[in-house]
């Protein structure tokens, strides 16, 4: 009993520690020192901090919860303003099964599955994830995920460079997410690769413009489909133009769109990447998300990131292991295909549960609802005086409108009305000063959509 009492006293002072004063004494005796302080003798005294860290006082769980409630009160989440924001992060529905499984601490408190025997649960889940992403994209090989959509684009170009080390020109459409393009530029800043941006008009890349820009030195062509404006690119023609010049065709996809749209493997993509946030992951102010990457069979030894493979154990039983690790940094060091050291394990698991929960029909119906609801909103907004749709290209769940006057002012006013109404395009495209992109997911109801239309009328009126 007394041991328990003492342990509680210690816990009250220092949460998450277990050693009581009696334990500490026994341990120090065994080590052969008189105090914990003696264990730090190897740190030169001139570098020891001689004051407490300037960190606010400790909070109990009750106080912490209250503190977070205050922080939340100063946020306007999608729970209390209807969310029509997109640009790479979307308010899709998350089935409860996803949270139930990812809330299993056998998954979320495990480490990278280096010890295969003690990690078969995660390894099999990642093998299933890889298969699901192959099915989703119609590509031959998927890795076990990357960080998120932006660095996935950068990694795909590093990968392309590994496939064709003598080619140095990268063509990227200006309809690719501006933050993905900036990530790409940043990653490649000190490497011998030149990035050329394909400028577009009308919201999509024209295959003729690509044909003019591409040459024999072109390493790869990167497009996003649907693109940052929501428009569908002519991926079949763009892929064909790329292939004709021997450039790798890299496409960044919205996985939800693949419930309806042709899949990257069906139009000859060499590498498919994408942001997997929509696959059962909360928007969470930007992360963690999960980066998708899949490629053709012949590039399997060039793909970055973790790969799980099937094998048998010493008794002949089917099982799973991390494989092809000779590509990776802990073996190859500076010659590795990437510096990436993790996948987004828990979020790959969530994506696997999500895709399985939806199944082919559920994914198709989700995509169909996105298309119909976004088109209904576009149609209704186009009737509002002063509002126009600048792009004629077909779109999936996101589209651009022009409003009269300052887009930011309109958006602030819409928030007052209870709507996260869209994203101001001028932030990334100074040539679109009055443009707003609006995203509509399967969650938005007719009442919410018509509510936004009425709010727009009021705000602009």
């Amino acid at each position: 009993m007394s041991g328990l009492v003492i342990r509680r006293l210690v816990l009250e002072k220092s949460l998450y520690l277990l050693n009581t004063p009696a334990d500490q004494k026994a341990m120090l005796d065994k080590i052969g020192v008189g105090s914990i302080g003696e264990l730090f003798k190897s740190i030169p005294s001139e570098f020891r901090l001689d004051r407490p860290l300037d960190i606010p006082p400790a909070l109990t769980e009750i106080e912490l919860q209250q503190h977070f409630a205050e922080l939340c009160n100063r946020n306007r989440s999608a729970d209390n303003a209807v969310c029509f924001l997109g640009g790479g992060s979307y308010d899709h529905f998350i089935p409860a099964a996803v949270d139930a499984i990812s809330g299993r601490s056998e998954y979320y408190t495990a480490y990278t599955p280096y010890q295969a025997e003690a990690s078969q649960g995660s390894l099999q889940a990642f093998f299933e994830y890889q298969t699901l992403i192959c099915q989703l994209t119609d590509m031959a090989v998927s890795n076990a995920s990357l960080y998120e959509g932006g660095s996935a684009v950068a990694e795909s170009v590093l990968m392309a460079f590994g496939i064709h080390p003598k080619k140095h020109k990268v063509l990227v459409a200006d309809t690719v997410h501006p933050e993905y393009r900036l990530t790409l530029t940043t990653y490649l800043a000190n490497l011998d690769v030149q990035i050329e941006t394909l400028t577009t008009t009308g919201g999509t890349v024209s295959p003729e413009a690509l044909d003019k820009a591409i040459d024999d030195k072109t390493l790869c062509v990167i497009v996003q489909h649907p693109n940052f404006f929501g428009c569908l690119e002519d991926v079949e023609k763009l892929s064909a133009v790329s292939r004709a010049k021997g450039a790798l065709f890299i496409v960044s996809v919205d996985p939800i769109s693949l419930g309806l749209l042709k899949r990257p493997g069906q139009y000859g993509a060499d590498i498919a990447v994408g942001e997997g946030q929509g696959l059962g992951n909360p928007m969470a102010y930007g992360g963690p998300y999960v980066g998708l990457m899949a490629c053709r069979e012949e590039y399997v030894r060039k793909i970055p990131g973790r790969l799980v493979g099937q094998t048998t154990d010493r008794n002949g039983k089917r099982c799973w292991v991390l494989t092809l690790q000779t590509r990776e940094q802990h073996i190859r060091r500076e010659k590795a295909t990437s510096n990436i050291c993790t996948n987004q394990g828990l979020f790959a698991l969530r994506a696997a549960v999500y895709l399985t929960a939806l199944g082919p029909q559920g994914l198709k119906e989700t995509a169909d609802l996105c298309v119909r609801k976004s088109h209904y909103l576009a149609q209704e907004l186009a009737k509002v005086k002063g509002v126009s749709l600048p792009f004629k290209a077909p779109f999936f769940k996101e589209f651009v409108v022009n409003v009269p006057g300052d887009a930011n002012a309109a958006l602030s006013a819409l928030l007052e009305e209870g709507y996260h109404g869209g994203l101001p395009m001028a932030r990334w495209y100074p040539n679109l000063p009055n443009a707003i992109s609006i995203a509509v997911t399967e969650k938005r109801t007719k009442a919410e959509i018509e509510g936004l239309v009425n709010a727009v009328k009021k705000v602009l009126g």
């Binding site: 914990i36 919860q65 299933e128 940043t186 154990d313 119909r372």
Partner: protein, 487 residues
């Protein structure tokens, strides 16, 4: 074992049964035709992707039964060296799931995210205070991306100063991400030897430093669990040739509130929030790898950073010298949030206690084992130490791998094996502060028993898990990376 449900752990694709559903969508409530009337036919696939079709109970039983085939911190002691597998408090999960945090869009206006921005601003401040480096970027998604970001910052800084510095120097005991990150950042790498005492060989370092040196990357405490006691001379030597010192912060759990990288000479560093500040590892991610730098490097940090003016918080994108960005959106906010909650829960004293008990536990485990296992680098360590099975291998043909695998039978996760590369048959152990003396006693007993077991029995270990010794050569030779329909 008999409780395992083998049917539910077939692959999802083998369980698929055409027509089963687990998620239904509402009927379309807007008056408009379906997608085939709204989109061009040539953009549409003939059929949706061939995903498996299962009912909700199939899905749940499958993944719940699979979860039982994992070891995890919540089920087992996990003394994985260099990984800081400490307990992940449950309160963090609930806070991260609050709608007022989880349902914020990354591009919503600053005015509508003041609570979030305040939390992130304070996190920048806490990490700056703990590191002694004043400027932070919370953007990097993981430690490896933090390294890359910092090296890109260094490259931009030297370019701005008109200096052509092409080399990054890295100790041979470093994590493999260090040289891999340096290569992507465009640098040549030079390996620095470790001395027989396990510390950086200062003479070797000095002989390789010159005006081409951009950065020296050091892990301190290093991967052997030793504090680089010559850090002052090391930093001075690097600074004397105009280079920068980068600290790989993987081992910050050993020095919280005791000493600060900025005080002992580091100019840049990354944190692993998922290690030191207990973000759950998630079977391989997500992590979060914020970086801290000195003032003169701050202009090059990726945008945005959170700033405060007149009590209002906002994201500052107006940073003309910034390297750009290394990912979309702000960063792995969900992991940063957990780290913030942890720091707020512990306070200054609590953080220092973490380190003191992490170091106490590691030294106690070392003391329990040192008569039984060779520990090449001395009787004292920081938060972790590296034992070697080389003697046991020579005498009894028992390898570090055998020992690690057999530990699984005893209900313990294996230590990190065969790393760092500078110790043969390495068994790298980091108990962390969230374990009790009883756990360490029992773990040490298991290790001592194992080395006296029959070698052949150990070669076939583990004996009690669902599988044993997967054929990794076969996996790599003819890779099967996805399920495929038979026939």
């Amino acid at each position: 074992m008999t409780m395992f449900n083998h049917q539910s752990t077939d692959l999802l694709f083998e369980m698929s049964h055409s027509g089963r559903r687990c998620h239904l969508l509402p009927a379309c409530d807007v008056p408009i035709g379906d997608a085939s009337t709204l989109l061009p036919k040539e953009a549409l696939a003939d059929a949706p992707p061939p995903l498996p079709e299962v009912a909700e109970i199939d899905l749940i039983r499958h993944f719940v039964n699979l979860s039982k085939r994992n070891m995890s911190i919540d089920t087992n002691f996990y003394p994985l060296g260099s990984c800081t597998m400490k307990y992940n408090p449950k309160r963090h999960e609930r806070l991260a799931a609050l709608g007022g945090m989880a349902n914020l869009h990354p591009l919503q206006s600053d005015a509508s995210a003041q609570g979030m921005l305040r939390m992130l601003f304070e996190m920048q401040q806490f990490l700056a205070e703990i590191s002694g480096l004043p400027a932070m970027s919370l953007q990097p998604s993981a430690g490896a991306q933090g390294e890359l970001t910092a090296l890109l910052v260094a490259a931009a800084y030297f370019r701005d100063k008109g200096q052509k510095r092409t080399r990054v120097l890295i100790p041979d005991s470093a994590h493999g991400t260090n040289p891999a990150s340096a290569a992507i950042a465009g640098f040549d790498t030079v390996s620095i030897k470790s001395g027989s005492n396990g510390l950086v060989d200062l003479a070797d370092l000095k002989s390789k430093l010159d005006d081409k040196t951009a950065v020296f990357m050091i892990t301190n405490p290093n991967t052997l669990g030793l504090f680089e006691s010559q850090i002052h001379e090391i930093a001075k030597a690097v600074h004397d040739v105009g280079g920068l010192v980068y600290l790989d912060g993987a081992n910050m759990n050993a020095i919280l509130g005791i000493t600060r990288p900025g005080d002992f000479g580091a100019d840049m560093m990354h944190y692993n929030v998922h290690k030191t500040f207990t973000g759950p590892h998630g079977a391989g991610g997500p992590g979060s790898g914020p970086i801290g730098v000195r003032d003169y490097l701050a202009p090059y940090l990726p945008a945005p950073v959170v700033v405060r003016k007149d009590g209002e918080y906002r994201l500052d994108y107006d940073r003309p010298k910034a390297i750009g960005r290394v990912r979309s959106f702000f960063g792995n906010v969900g992991i940063l949030l957990r780290g913030y909650a942890y720091i707020r829960t512990l306070g200054a004293k609590g953080l220092r206690d973490v380190t003191e008990h992490a170091v106490l536990n590691a030294n106690y485990l070392l003391a329990l084992l040192k008569g039984e296992y060779e520990v090449p680098h001395g009787d004292r360590c920081m938060h972790e130490f590296v034992a070697s099975a080389r003697g046991i291998k020579r005498e009894k043909r028992i390898t570090a791998m055998d020992i690690g695998k057999r530990l699984l039978d005893y209900g313990y996760h294996a230590p990190t094996v065969y790393f760092p590369l500078v110790v043969s048959e390495a068994l790298m152990m980091e108990p962390t502060e969230t374990e009790s003396k009883e756990t360490l006693d029992a773990f040490a007993d298991a290790l001592i028993k194992i080395k006296n077991e029959d070698a052949n029995y150990l070669h076939d270990a583990p004996h009690t898990l669902t599988i044993s010794r997967p054929d990794e050569i076969k996996a790599a030779k003819e890779p099967i990376l996805r399920w495929k329909q038979q026939g």
